[in-house]
Assembly symmetry: D3
């Protein structure tokens, strides 16, 4: 029986000029939808899990179309609800080599940002679930979103459902009056698995000091929040916009694991690769041992760099093959 | 020497599914820009006039791209200014026959809506201008927009520049706390030329009564606001989304003129046809007598139905040819 | 609580040259999916009903993509199952005016055609359903498909679920060894509502004689198969590929109803209009009286002519508006 | 055994903005190739005849691509030859309703225009041919083209091959120093079938007088040039760019025939419809009696209005069906 | 005088999602046609040879369009014949880096697979030919295809025409009842040139043993089938789906030749590269000495990786330039 | 206050098959406009300078569209003038790896080539300008173009405006009767900054000898033409069409500067990279010291390789970031 994950967060309309055109050159936009948590859910659905995403859209044809995107990519959308007037948006101009991709957000005042505690019936949502996943993007959006997220985490705790949080700290997103330092600890202390960069741990929780390695910081985080079972990170080297290297790392309180570097020499779409890593990690932890889980996460992350759009739509077979070392990309007939 | 028109109002990003696809079917959007007043300016520029549009965009690549659209279509953009965070937007699903086109606006909180009195140096803007045009969309957007618009109208009055206002009343747009009945009279009383439907005159100014004809209502409007020299309207019969009939009508205080019905049997793009009419009227009044001006306006309006996008990009020669009765659309080599 | 419909039949990949290009000109195909019964289900889902479609696809990425199309357009796909090697296909070259649209089928040996009795757990499928719909296309595909369809009808009968059958006779489809005259009666006799042309009733059941009107034929059909409560038809006049006229007609054993002619002057997509009629009829019969139901069906059918693809994706509001006589297609903002 | 036609003339690259976009809106061009005579050849090839086109292209990848277009559409290209530097071009902006299509030519100095007498081995070209067709466009291009055309006509005369000429007079094309009045008579006097408008006969050959009907002018033309067996014309009424009416007319020295008006209510592509008429006429005269030939020509012409591109790509079956009165455009499955 | 090659085999419709989209993301397919042997013929035609392909298509608009593709790309199609109902198809999802391209075939029951001995008049086909080429794909399709292929080979032998066979063994294609071990020897023993991988020689002919080098295996193959003059292979290293390395190798009974490794660092289209190698080899053997021929084949193969579609459309000049060591890809103006 | 540059030269319509398609595969062309000098102007406008381009277009919709392209990309077009009949054109087939991009020009007889001395009012054009830039393409086009260019240079000299010339020698372009050796010296001797390759200096001015380094040649050039203050070059290593390396070099009479090699591993568009270098140099010299200017030029050049189209549309911030060593291309949000 397939395991089930619940994710919670904003889903934005993603508008991007075709190919490598700059915004100034576009006369059309390619249309997709994405958001850190929904990306995780879709990735897991393509790997064979059941996945439902909880979010809020405007009650119009655009909100419906966003829901339809999630349904198409195998999510259960019974917990999508409607209200407000605006679908969050982001515009993506794809870069190459030394030219950075540029992202412009328009999410202020979106339907999701106006979410309020009590709007989600978390017990109904989490019924039968095996895992709940959230990211640090959500509490940054609005106080309501932060509070809703906390409700979800606490309900999951109560129902004995594992919780993972991907810190994903973006300081300049926090505009609603509270800082991430104020809000995040309460969310993180109720997590079983935390995904974070070293910088995230230092900046948000004030742990460690400059120069401390991931392992040290992870140890301190687990010491601070004893519920946490694993702290997981991903190292990315951006050789250029077109060439990335990544590897995963994990501290589980006892051993430190690091995966082999994967070399993505021809990036197709850089967005959502962290979400693919998180999804791979969740899948791995639910189906394999820790070391394999981290390898699986890294392979999933690497593959996402080659899939257009926000979400990783590769199959379990694809990830397993790369995880087992086949980097050849040879044609499958 | 070409005459010069100044227009003022919001320009939105226009996103539409290709062809006749529904929102639910779109995987890309065609991208254009439009807004009632800028549409008028572009139309006039294609007819050979000088035209500058005054508006406000966010100071990012999207705001720049909107400006570039205006520049491309011959407008002077020296009076475009930047601030705020969001470009107003509208989504257009194109209908056919019995299926209506559907428009979804996302303009709340846009850069333009946050405009405030004093932001525009109207004397500089209107220098050398022959005409100033505004529409009833602008004061509906926000109190700031309404006040800025009034500043512009008064400055034009002071500088001896003709002012036209296209009432274009959409009751459900007025959300900022004042009603159109409160705001519009002060704007309209300073106009030389007013474009309005009968309904507009009745609803906004409380003139006439149900069943009163356009001429009667126009007379009352001119009586109420003595500065007005002409009241102009357009009758549209929507046989279907794909087949429209239009004709123009004008009251100048002494004579009532009506143009022959034009039959647009295969609509390509219905949006902006009223703006094409207004532009045609302005061009006509600046270059011909009243009767010819109204014919010119009607012909321009009819032609716009065949041009994709918001603005009328037909040439003077095209309009003259139709105005003179050539409806054949025969190939020009 | 929304009512629920179950449909059963093949879903084909639909490949069509862009715009009005001929097959000889195509360098790409637009991709959609369609099939008479699934088209009905999707139409009903857009109207607000619950709808599940039962079908069989190859167990590969193409079969998955077909399922994803159904999910996207709101269907429940829990009863889609997988096997066989080929997705049925049809190629559509869109005509205009005097040039006919051309359809080439490639469905022989498709996954669906290899369906066999016992493969569908009809009791599970029909649980909670309010209506079961099939068409005459399905039994024409293969003996297995015919037998499966009969199983479904009989189970529905047993469970007290209304059954509608759209005769849709295409003689040249019947290639598996039995004729439609042999197979159809057993299927039709268990139906509550039958949709058919006059020709269908004459040719398949040998009723009436040349020149007999629909009402006479419908009477005879109901006399022959007493379970039938209503016989419903649609008259189409094909003025050209670009201009169609339709109206509905219904005999319920006591009264004959006919709707006003609807004039579709600018056809966007002719395919699936009969399915839109059937869907409209089912919706109408479940929510309104007979006369209104027929009007609703006709309006839905007319609107489908303006929607690209096989399925009718218009809203309840759209259909109601046309049904109530608003043919103007005026923009909705 | 299929009959064989030879055609001679320039083939241009055809560049057109997508859909109904204006030149000012285009960011891409749809690419096709066309020219009056090659259009005739392609039409005839789709009807089942053998067809070879004689022309000259630059010896580069663009000239090769033009040749490949002709090959793809069934022409024999063994008599295409290479030289010069420029492929003739035309830009087409597609109009609708009252908006005319606009054509801009760039053919001066093209490879074809530099053709010189002696370059074509007409005896080899015309071996096994049943028909030779030219149009008045060719002699207008350059003196060399005019002389080459005359060579072809005379060789055909000598070899007993029927010759048709489509006058297609466009006064403003004649720029090389001779007028059409000087050049055309020698070409036309060697034709067996002449296609012309009334205006063409009057203006080029100075026959008849204002107000003379087609039949009268045709009689005078045949009197002047006794080799001519038939003079054929086509009346077009351009109700709008989107709606055309046509019918054919023919004088054979004894009887005057006129076909029923065909009503093309939704024009897809107006270009090349005269060439489709000419091709239909040639096919008809080679396979049917005169009256049927004219009906066939008219039906072919009407159908071309619905085919994108310059050439008529409909099948024999399509033309026969319309010629026999089926205007329904009903789907063929 | 250009030399002439004849090829024989199935041509499939190739349908691929645009860019790097996954099947699940496609809303259109790019359309091309390809098949191992036709790819060789097209490559040779672009290099300047005469080339005719023998195949069988359904007698409908899709079969015609496939023929038109071959004609467009310079093939003689006089030996294409029609029958059966289905055009073979393959769907290609293009991968990148670690993500494999995925191919789904639908060729069972295709028009070509139903080919039977006696259907091809091989003497007529091979008249004036200098070379006949087949691949191991063809006999795998059906017994009829295998027998037809053998007919062709034997006729070529009898007429003194060189025969090359590209083994191209795909075990899982053989489904018609005979194994490749049974069928291939009779085909291969009549060849003059054999292209194969080491694995192909071992698996099909049971020669050599694990670990044997290409040269040893080639020697044994030539010993077993004395007609063979050369055994040629290609070594591919798939660094990733986006980066391939290839070199050629040849044994002619006396000397072993190997070309320098070519490094294709940015793969555009991986499909058909083996066919480009075969075509390069045939061209090379017909025009140069052995060593040059192998270099030419390798250069052609490398270039194909940069051409979209199945067939290599580069010019002789392109191949010669790379063969002579210019790997710079510098712009040619 | 932004500084102002004036450029002078032909702007061509650029037509290219989508993606990596070959000319033989194209059914559409992507449309842009470009020319060495206008590319420089656009680059500088995106960097924040004022820029006006002087050129001549045909007085038709195509000439207008070309002007609109320049306006859109921020140029002042008040000095564009109209006449002649043909817009210069180039066709670009984009290569990859070992496959070269292919360019076909059609510019003979273009509107620009017919330019004549006296047509440009250089004093008006150069009013308020800080810099005048020309390239060696312009004098190669026609004697009129060469003379006009000289007029511009001399006027700039007289008005105290800096002049830069990019030698850009393409021998095979010079067809109007004079050689580049005759024409160029007079143009170059009036320049303040010269951009040239070593080969350019040797071939055009007969300076130095084979094997002489750039610095030596630059010294001799400055000795010969004492007005020149700096000679600047760019070394390009074309590892493949997809991978380029570049660095800049400069001699100012006293010191020789060379920048670090930049490695463009994934080329998006190779055209216009030299123009981006020139623009970067002009910007740099106007705003920074020499060394920084050369670094800025190199960074701008490298970035252009990733921008589709002819002109460099990156921002000042992008160039500064790369110039300061950030090659990571990390996403900007």
């Amino acid at each position: 029986m397939a395991k089930k994950v619940i994710t919670f967060g904003e889903v934005m309309m993603r508008l991007s000029p075709p190919g490598y055109s700059k915004f100034a050159q576009a006369t059309s936009f390619e249309l997709a939808y994405g958001g850190g948590e929904a990306n995780v859910a879709i990735s897991l659905a393509y790997l064979g899990m059941k996945a439902a995403h909880v979010t809020r859209f405007p009650d119009n044809a655009l909100g419906k179309a966003a829901t339809q995107f999630l349904r198409k990519h195998w999510l259960s959308t019974e917990h999508v609800f409607y209200g407000g007037d605006m679908l969050g948006k982001y515009f993506l101009e794809k870069g190459a080599v030394h030219r950075s991709s540029e992202v412009i957000y328009e999410r202020e005042g979106s339907s999701f940002s106006l979410i309020a505690p009590g709007m989600v019936d978390w017990e109904a949502v989490l019924k039968d679930a095996d895992w709940f996943h959230w990211t640090g993007i959500t509490p940054a959006i609005s106080e309501g979103a932060a509070m809703c997220c906390l409700e979800g985490i606490k309900t999951a705790n109560r129902m004995g459902i594992k919780v993972s949080g991907d810190i994903n700290s973006r300081k300049n997103m926090w505009k609603f009056g509270k800082s991430m330092q104020e809000v995040m600890p309460e969310l993180v202390q109720n997590c079983d698995v935390v995904i974070s960069s070293s910088r995230g741990i230092r900046e948000i929780f004030g742990l460690g000091k400059a120069g401390d390695k991931f392992r040290t910081l992870a140890e301190q985080l687990m010491y601070t929040f004893p519920r946490i079972e694993k702290v997981v990170g991903k190292t990315r080297k951006s050789i250029s916009a077109s060439h990335q290297q990544i590897h995963g790392k994990m501290w589980d309180g006892e051993k430190y694991v690091k995966t082999k570097k994967l070399n993505i020499t021809h990036v197709i779409d850089r967005v959502g690769t962290g979400d693919a890593f998180a999804a791979g990690l969740i899948y791995g932890l639910l189906h394999y041992g820790d070391v394999e889980a981290l390898k699986f996460a890294s392979a999933a992350c690497a593959l996402k760099h080659t899939v257009p759009g926000d979400a990783n739509m590769v199959s379990l077979e694809n990830v397993l093959s790369l995880m087992q070392g086949d980097t050849s990309g040879a044609i499958r007939r």
